[in-house]
């Protein structure tokens, strides 16, 4: 089972690298993050205050991209059906897809988000660990939602609008807790509530991940099984 899991991860990594998806997702995210300050007059606004919104919208939009090729291509050419005929149950295949999507798209984006936060939005340097954890947990959640919506729409004629329509409401709690747990300002005095607030939000975000990980993977597997049986 573990062998199949690792084989699938190796294969999908190879596919992603050959297709050049790694850089396309990353550059899409960077484009979103850099475009926002250009569209707003940076002098009139506190850019740091709106930076969580920009970062999370960028992460949300970019998290939808990798699984399109990873799942859709494999579904179309029958690979998913064949992979389901191995010793590994479909749950393992769904988990492997999830892992590859996160590794190839979200992991580089975490560093891009941190770098742009520091450079473009003047986040405080001491918040780097807190913000890294937040984006890590949040991107795990967003990829999970993307996995479910992609599995549900395999073989559909609904197009991209359907993907965003479905994942938007599902991502709302992640967006709220994620944005609340980013620290964008240095606290003015040490007893300020800003630290406790971000910590609470981070704990809630992590609880959300723990609570939804297994049900969402299970639902994705169910969707995958339906898709394969109706191919």
């Amino acid at each position: 089972m573990l062998c199949v899991f690792l084989a699938l991860i190796r294969r999908d990594m190879a596919v992603v690298l050959r297709n050049g998806q790694l850089s396309s997702t990353l550059s899409f995210f960077i484009m979103v993050v850099v475009f926002f300050p250009l569209a707003i007059d940076p002098a009139s606004l506190d850019l740091a205050a709106i930076s969580p919104a920009i970062i999370w919208i960028g992460l949300f939009l970019a998290a939808q991209l990798p699984l399109e090729r990873l799942l859709h291509d494999d579904y179309q050419d029958g690979s998913l059906a064949l992979w389901s005929l191995t010793r590994a149950p479909l749950e393992v295949i769904a988990t492997a897809k999830y892992a590859v999507a996160w590794l190839t798209a979200s992991l580089p984006m975490i560093f891009a988000a941190l770098a742009s936060g520091m450079l473009v939005y003047q986040w405080p340097m001491d918040a780097i660990l807190n913000n890294m954890l937040t984006i890590l947990v949040g991107s795990l959640l967003l990829t999970l939602i993307s996995l479910l919506t992609r599995c549900l729409t395999l073989g559909s004629r609904g197009g991209k609008g359907l993907i965003y329509l479905m994942s938007m409401p599902l991502s709302l709690p992640t967006l709220i807790f994620g944005a609340a747990s980013l620290r964008t300002h240095t606290p003015t005095d040490l007893n300020t509530s800003i630290d406790t607030e971000t910590t609470t939000a981070l704990i809630l975000l992590s609880l959300l991940l723990l609570a939804t990980l297994i049900p969402m993977l299970w639902a994705s597997t169910l969707a995958l099984r339906n898709a394969i049986s109706h191919q």
Partner: protein, 260 residues
């Protein structure tokens, strides 16, 4: 070889068997033939009386004045929007576990109706909010979760239509409906948390059920019954539509088979 599929019929009188029959397209036609006239009569009785109570017979609220009359359309449609989502979630569970075709048809039929009720609740709510709180929209937990519900309804009904095979669309939509039903409490709770974080001064949302007079309860009840009857009529019609669509699909399918 190409015979139309007829579900296994057992002529037993046990209640479980008759319940099963209710859920098959053949028996649905008989049941809907009885349900639709009853709902139509109910609608024709309750809608005029409800409107009469709402506009003529009930007094203006001592606090909100005439604007309380928006409540008689707003609250019933919000109730129905929530109730229909619950019904869709239950039907989705049945679709996934028991694979009764009528449960899938019900979910397909009910989601546009629910979307309409949610839209009405949102529109009338914001029109009620302007004179009451002075703004059309606040990012209040109740409003935001209603908006999210609207998006869920849109996604659900788009999902049922997004596949060549109706069955596959219904199964995918039922997974979405169940995930959505589990997520809605989380969403509402997260928005509440966020709201308390950002806006400590609470907006005085006047809770209609807390101090309700009998003169308001009558139009509210009548309008609820009227909208419920309307929903029954339209859902039954749309279930017929879903059955017909399935028949139409298999008709096309048989054509492709008879070609060679």
């Amino acid at each position: 070889m190409t015979m139309p599929h007829t579900p296994a019929r057992k002529k037993t009188a046990s209640p479980a068997a008759s319940l099963w029959h209710w859920f098959t397209p053949t028996y649905f036609r008989a049941v809907s033939g009885r349900v639709t006239p009853i709902a139509l009569v109910l609608l024709l009785v309750t809608l005029p009386t409800g409107l009469a109570y709402a506009f003529f017979l009930s007094p203006p609220d001592y606090l909100q004045g005439e604007t309380v009359r928006i409540m008689y359309i707003h609250v019933p449609s919000a109730w129905l929007a929530l109730a229909l989502y619950g019904a869709i979630a239950v039907a989705s569970g049945i679709t996934l576990t028991l694979k009764l075709p009528m449960a899938g048809h019900f979910a397909t039929a009910a989601s546009p109706v629910g979307a309409c009720f949610t839209a009405i609740a949102l529109i009338s709510g914001s029109l009620w909010g302007k004179p009451t709180w002075g703004t059309y929209w606040v990012w209040d937990a109740r409003l935001t979760s209603m908006l999210v519900l609207f998006f869920f309804y849109l996604a659900h009904s788009a999902m049922t239509q997004a596949f060549k095979q109706q069955e596959r669309g219904q199964q995918a939509a039922s997974i979405l409906a169940i995930v959505g039903a589990l997520n809605l409490p989380i969403i509402k709770w997260s928005v509440e948390w966020w709201h308390t974080l950002h806006q400590p001064e609470s907006i005085s949302f006047i809770n209609p059920s807390s101090h309700i007079d009998i003169s308001m309860l009558i139009p509210l009840g009548l309008m609820t019954v009227a909208l419920f009857s309307y929903a029954t009529i339209v859902i039954t019609a749309r279930m017929k539509l879903a059955i017909l669509q399935q028949k139409w699909q298999s008709l096309l399918y048989q054509k492709t088979r008879n070609r060679s």
